[in-house]
Symmetry: C2
């Protein structure tokens, strides 16, 4: 009995500890008028392996958080109208290109100046290129700011960013292996761009044709929700095959369905996302090992890179959005600052390829977490005075 | 890139295949006027390792289905009023005791008659004792029958059943090890009984005091849903420590909150449960290996045990519920027939203790799946003519 009971308690216990500590810390931070998202990440630091050691990262928890992120992006997509996003398409491309370029030069240049090898510097630069839209989207959505113009620019730029990040990473890892296959690279990039554009332009029209039939023709209960889940994961899979991240597919799926599905689907999606997102946020915190940055030269480089990472997006993306006025440019720059999980994936790859030292690996993890912690107050500051639509209300 | 992309696609692809195939098969079965739940189990057989081999059972999928079952039971609990369940408490105890006794004698006796060893026969009997309330609850809930009197008796009996199953399993595994510690056993049983009674009697009163404050005092968005999730997993953990299954804790949590939380919590819970339950149902199907029962004597014993398993609950539980009239007695007997995942857990334990041959292991897996497949049509037949409340409507 005892071993069976132990296995039985492990799962609910881990979920209880992570979920409750994340939400409690969010409550505490919000009472202190600080961004709640930081509380959830700190909860992960505290219960994680480097402080209390109550929870160790596991395949299940990682997969759960990946699932949570897909639902968060799907839910955000459900609140965005395609037409609103297409209108600011050109600005979004300028923002993404200029932010990516400046981040790459700033992070890579700094690492070279610090005397790091060329391959390592390139991987640091590649890790700092792509914005983690998840963090910004969470802050904007939980503060009811998704309908602001700057928010739409951020969302669209983050999608472009993902494609640019893919190209940069392909070039960098090709260089590290010895050669870049430019023909393959151009094909991959074209496929990713076509997939995204096609879904963004035609997804909502297809949904408008299909969704009404789903409810009337199927005998299934909750047919619209079932169809939405199938679309979410179907497009997430296709997105990966097309070369973009699964969460971009989830976001495009949400956007496609936004104007066609009933309110019940929005609420049911909110249930899944509210349950799972704390696992993503706490999961980021769990990976932060405060001791990894103990020696002084690593710490100085990390702090210099942090400033470079924040400024390069603030300035780069801000300049790209300048035509919208200075206030919106600042909002876009702040919103594009967090690097979150994207940098960690690049770090993982460089680590596996054996071209990245342990200290650089620790630095990139630190930068991912630190930009993620620094961004919410910046976003909050930049968006002060913007009218918010209370949560649970469709925009 | 390619290895990172492969890892990235695995999760959404597995979820897409399982979810979509389960829901498609449910749709097909429902169009054939057969129980949809059978379709979802069959989908697992088809995409699972023994037929198409697209999906292999994994820790993640198992954990996901365990999570799904907790949410299903929580959701069912949310639709049950404590007072309604307490009223039929005495009948429920009679039903559970008489069903458990008859199942144990029938399955154990049959195995002994077939010439199986005493320890093996005891494990087969223990595996056939406990009803899997998940299956019946899914059928009743998806057909809008949860408010019928027979349904309430089934739910309450299944809770009692779980405690009885715990005692039987403790005795049997003690015997297999050489001795039963009766003092420990009585303490364990008392703890389990007290925990369940205490929550059933006082849970909803505590919730009525706490829940109104949750929304007014916390700054968290979705505070009621957050509190509900915390209660669900908190009680699931306590349930395991008290010696009952985690899902019984989840069910009691739902019952406690049923009358206090807003409708939005019900819909958000439905979202999680609709997403995850297919993983539980398909997961049952995945474990069925049609070839394991290839030799004739194993197959005959399996079929004889299947008849014994179905009849013993039908007659045993039916007799226990006879005071409600013959129609309700039949409904209760049919509803208590599926053994589902409970039998599999016992089989696993016996297998690990080395007292159970491979063929008996395969037989128990077969019986779990077969009683689960046989029950829905029986339930449907027994409940014909009972007025159903359409889904998504609170009872």
């Amino acid at each position: 009995m005892s071993s069976a009971a132990a296995a039985d308690v492990e799962l609910p216990l881990a979920i209880f500890i992570i979920f409750v500590s994340a939400r409690l810390m969010r409550e505490v931070l919000e009472r202190l008028r600080l961004p709640g998202i930081i509380g959830e990440i700190l909860a992960g630091v505290i219960v994680g392996p480097h402080v209390l050691g109550w929870i160790r990262p596991s395949v299940f928890l990682t997969d759960l958080s990946e699932l949570g992120v897909m639902f968060l992006l799907f839910r955000i997509g459900l609140e965005v109208r395609t037409a609103d996003l297409m209108k600011i398409g050109r600005t979004a491309i300028t923002v993404a290109v200029s932010g990516v370029t400046l981040s790459f030069i700033a992070a890579g240049g700094l690492a070279l100046l610090w005397g790091r090898a060329r391959v390592e510097a390139m991987f640091i630069a590649a890790a700092m290129v792509a914005t983690s839209v998840v963090i910004t989207a969470e802050v904007l959505s939980s503060r009811g700011l998704l309908s602001a113009r700057a928010s739409r620019v951020i969302l669209a730029s983050a999608v472009v960013d993902d494609i640019l990040g893919l190209i940069v990473l392909a070039v960098v890892s090709g260089e590290a292996r010895g050669s870049v296959n430019w023909f393959d690279l151009i094909l991959t990039a074209l496929l990713a761009i076509c997939f995204t554009l096609f879904l963004a332009m035609w997804g909502h029209r297809a949904a408008r044709l299909i969704v009404p039939g789903v409810k009337s023709r199927l005998s299934l209960a909750e047919a619209e929700f079932t169809f939405s889940i199938a679309t979410l994961f179907g497009l997430a899979v296709l997105a990966v095959y097309a070369g973009v991240a699964a969460i971009i597919g989830a976001f495009l799926a949400g956007m496609a369905l936004a104007e066609s599905v009933e309110d019940r689907v929005h609420t049911m999606t909110a249930g899944v996302s509210e349950l799972l997102v704390p696992f993503f946020l706490a999961g980021i915190g769990m990976r932060l090992d405060p001791r990894a940055l103990a020696d002084r030269s690593t710490l100085t480089l990390a702090l210099a890179l942090l400033v470079a990472a924040l400024l390069s997006k603030l300035v780069g993306c801000g300049l790209g959005a300048l035509r919208l006025g200075r206030a919106d440019a600042l909002r876009v720059g702040a919103g594009m600052a967090p690097r979150g999980e994207v940098g960690m994936i690049v770090a993982q790859l460089g680590h596996e390829m054996g071209v990245m030292s342990n200290s650089i690996f620790a630095i990139i993890i630190f930068l991912s977490v630190a930009t993620t912690l620094a961004a919410p107050p910046m976003i909050r500051f930049a968006f002060r005075g913007v009218r918010s639509h209370p949560q649970n209300e469709r925009v």
